[in-house]
Symmetry: C2
Subunit: 575 residues, 2 copies
């Protein structure tokens, strides 16, 4: 197996370590979560020296397997106070795999205020002063680093938000064009990187050998089936390539589950103006890119490039959740304003879901007017200016609600709820309440069977079946995150009996193993158990596994209400 | 027994309720904590409609018993998320007792933004618009209300901080001069009052009958012993009347337990400049008042009036903890600046301990320079200006540390540590860690045996005996808070075998009971058990009963460290 790269950010020293048996065969979220459980004191301060920031490619990373280029980042979260894994596309995962690095573990923290740059290539590791990058946004940082280290190096960096250790801070990854279009968004991991005074990490695999595949023929055959499966499924083969994830705007709005004006309604009267269809029309007219991959080897290609009115680049990786958060949630209906807010988040290094929800909460508290895109842009810009308002909103929805003295704040474990109202998509609501991550749709995407009729059909308004739905999805997702596969492969896997076996075939061919689907699900369970155990040690109880009181209000148009008891919810991850 | 006054703040309705058997004989903290446990859903949002704000006089309130005029305020705390009782002197407690009101329970919250004034007198209750008071500080509010309702009515009010629902907001009580010198300071109860849109409560007992005493002669005899005991003890009879609580500055500084520069040292080089001796000298020179009571019937008289250089009133009730928080903790050494900070807190309605610690944290994060009194006054003033900086610091030390991305924040359960370093006064350190209130010296004042040799002597630097010390004090304090007695009576009680029996004699004479000291201690235990139970239901675990990592640093000059394990601490309130 590969090796762990430990970097002491205070002493500026490093060492390589062979992975021990306990960690053999673990990658991505399986590895970050186990390392955090084993090495990070659960009660430590997330910004203190005892926390560790870990990056781990999935176990399929660097192989030719389609859509296997996601990198997991993990730490104790400054936002939730619990364990966190947040994965993203980009270039780093596959390059680390080729360099034989199973994980980067950033430890300790400097006592000085100087930031460093870490450069990793096949000849070794350099820890360099980053004075020229400090105070810069991710666009400038990545441009500088691509110029200096080559036009296709992988980059992980933080912007002004991470430098300020704000709880909404992301770690951005350079996309295939060297722009910060991909984000380890949720849970404030950028603040941990900021606390450790690492401005950026460059990963260059030039001259590195390919990842070893034990049985090349078998791998090729399995991957062929895999690619076909992804291409044939209507979501991964048609919907996502055609309109990106924003294909969901009209779908979720029609289902009455599109949270509007800080979760007061499930339908937004201006949904059309911010829909995937509208976005595709604008992109086409202005000469953007409707469909592009977020990492090499992706066949779904749900990313995009959105130009401004002058036909110049404005933002990329413009996603459904972002459009919802800055759109329906705040009642902003101008897609260009929403795109600018997305760009600012990528540049300052901020989670778009957290920031969109925060702006809605700020509007609820009277900080800026509802639906005012320009005011929202001005307020978000305060983060880049290191201003006091930025130190409020940059710390997220819970923090901003507290600053404004509000009692109606859509958070679980202090993390903002994403783009699906839990009252009308109860399968994802169960996930929000119970995942160790805090409110997170990607941890168990119940929208599948609730709305999209993928992997079966379960009534989104009723309790029945939704605990089980979330449980199954949370287990499968943990395994998918360990493999380094994009979550969207789940659409095809859920609708194909041959899906999970094909993933096993690829793993078996790469590593000479004989895994069966049951083994993969056991892995998923063990990941969740590790994460639950860390949170338990950090002081979490079943009281933390719940939605706030506001979700007992009725949601128009279907007048649905949240109605799960604590006892019911506690079954979700009890296995 | 008396009656409970319930006021629905949304409907502007009220009703009187006979106290049921379950609440018979309970007053002060015993009553507020039991009502909260029984009626407030532990997981509710503290600023939401399900929280209740309760005021309850102690069971000796209104009687001639010396120092029995403390009023308990209780709610689920916006600062800690747990149960809170915070008591203060002033005029309200005795007046409520004479009106036969055992507790005021403020329920629900309005949907509009209008504030109300509640006026309580013997003829009934009026809920009036408070438009003329909104936006005003407590000095102006109390002046207006004394002018309108009479020059000795009791007043509870909130300033700009409570209106903004800030977690550092206090509820101030008019002192005997109609000034906001007394505070229900800790835990942000002013924010709960603000959320319920109650700007002030006026309590007028004109025409009310005296509190009934069943055996007047026995009461008189017991109270006489009681007064003598208080007058003879060196702390309550000499130290506190001569220099106020600031008598402790030199004592605690010499013990090396005076937290300096955000808990980096136990000694402040300028302690002399902010000492009780120095304060008394200034007060005398400028024609202030060195010693006055905080409520009628107090024989200790540790309060004071501090004038400015021109000999005009500047502040009153100027306490040791305030002087420490704004002084040594921030390294501000000008007593006039500290007095101005105290005044601003009283006026805006803020806890001085929370705010002083917050300013030190803000200095640690570079918001203002260390030791700069003028900058501190400017920053604190932002709260009165409803500015963004105010919405950061007004939410307390934990919030401000988070806003600034710090990992060294002296809080327990999100409440700022008071004026005794837990590494060098371990008895009080155990209290900080384990009381259900969050870091609070008054919950179990281990300084007694640790530093003052009151009630025995226990080494403040060692573990031995300090769990037991804190346990005994926490039990006794809960009972004292239920009686409505000033905590300072504990000095005399701890050093007199006849102390607790004398309190029992007064209670027995007033109510025709036959309580023994063991009954009083059982009451103390039951209060703590109720509070622990509420916190457990709110999601607290033993993980919350600990000091932050920073207290594992060595504290000069004695190089003491915090060294209690979680297992040891968990014994403190296990009975």
């Amino acid at each position: 197996m590969g090796k762990l790269l430990r970097i002491n950010t205070r002493e500026k020293t490093l060492n390589f370590e062979k992975t021990t048996d306990a960690y053999a065969g673990l990658g991505g979220r399986a590895l970050t979560s186990k390392l955090i459980l084993d090495e990070v004191p659960a009660t430590c301060h997330p910004l203190g020296k005892a926390n560790k920031l870990i990056f781990a490619p999935g176990i399929l990373a660097g192989s030719p397997a389609a859509d296997s280029g996601r990198l997991s980042a993990g730490a104790k979260s400054p936002l939730t106070g619990g364990i966190k894994e947040s994965n993203a596309g980009g270039l780093v995962s596959q390059k680390l795999a080729r360099l034989g690095i199973t994980a980067i573990i950033l430890e300790d923290k400097p006592e000085t205020s100087d930031f460093s740059l870490i450069v990793i290539d096949k000849d070794g590791i350099r820890i360099l002063p980053a004075d020229d990058l400090v105070g810069k946004g991710n666009y400038a940082v990545m441009e500088t680093l691509w110029e200096k280290y080559g036009k296709n190096v992988g980059v992980l960096s933080i912007g002004q938000a991470g430098e300020q250790c704000l709880k909404g801070a992301s770690i951005q990854q350079a996309d295939m064009n060297g722009r910060p279009g991909r984000a380890h968004g949720r849970g404030g991991l950028g603040a941990v990187m900021g606390a450790k005074k690492i401005k950026a990490i460059v990963v260059d695999d030039k001259g590195a050998s390919r990842v070893e595949i034990k049985d090349k023929e078998a791998f090729k055959a399995a991957n062929k089936k895999w690619v076909e499966m992804l291409r044939k499924h209507p979501v991964t083969g048609e919907g996502l390539p055609a309109l990106g994830t924003a294909v969901l705007v009209n779908v979720i709005n029609e289902a009455g589950a599109f949270p509007t004006k800080n979760f007061r309604s499930g339908q937004f009267e201006h949904a059309q103006d911010i829909s995937g269809e509208k976005m595709a029309e604008i992109i086409e007219k202005r000469g953007g890119v409707i469909s592009e991959p977020c990492h090499p080897g992706c066949v779904i290609k749900c990313s995009n490039v959105y130009n401004n009115k002058e036909g110049k680049y404005l933002t990329s990786g413009f996603e459904y959740e972002t459009i919802w958060a800055f759109g329906a949630h705040t009642t902003i209906k101008e897609l260009d304003d929403i795109a600018m807010l997305d760009r600012l988040c990528d540049d300052f290094g901020l989670d778009t879901i957290e920031m969109g929800v925060t702006l809605g909460v700020a509007m609820d508290g009277g900080m800026i007017p509802w639906g005012d895109g320009k005011a929202a842009i001005d307020l978000l810009s305060k983060i880049g200016q290191y201003a006091s308002e930025g130190k409020i909103i940059g710390n997220g929805a819970g923090f901003t609600g507290d600053a404004l003295g509000l009692d109606r704040i859509p958070i679980v474990k202090n993390q903002a709820l994403p783009a699906y109202d839990p009252r009308s998509v109860k399968g994802v609501g169960v996930t929000y309440a119970t995942t160790p991550m805090g409110a997170d749709h990607t941890a168990g995407y119940g929208v599948t069977a609730n709305i999209l009729s993928v992997g079966g059909t379960i009534d989104p308004h009723k309790k029945e079946g939704n605990i089980e739905l979330s449980q199954g999805l949370q287990i499968a997702t943990a395994a998918v995150d360990a493999a380094g596969l994009c979550l969207f492969v789940a659409f095809a896997v859920l609708d194909n009996d041959d899906g999970l076996p094909t993933i096993c075939e690829m793993l078996n061919a790469q590593y000479g193993l004989s895994l069966a689907p049951a083994d993969v699900l056991e892995l998923g369970k063990s990941i969740l158990n590790n994460e639950k155990e860390f949170n338990r040690k950090a002081g979490f109880t079943k009281i933390d596994d719940r939605l706030p009181e506001m979700f007992y209000e009725k949601l128009p148009p279907h007048d649905t209400q949240w109605d799960f008891t604590s006892e019911e919810l506690s079954k979700t991850l009890n296995f």
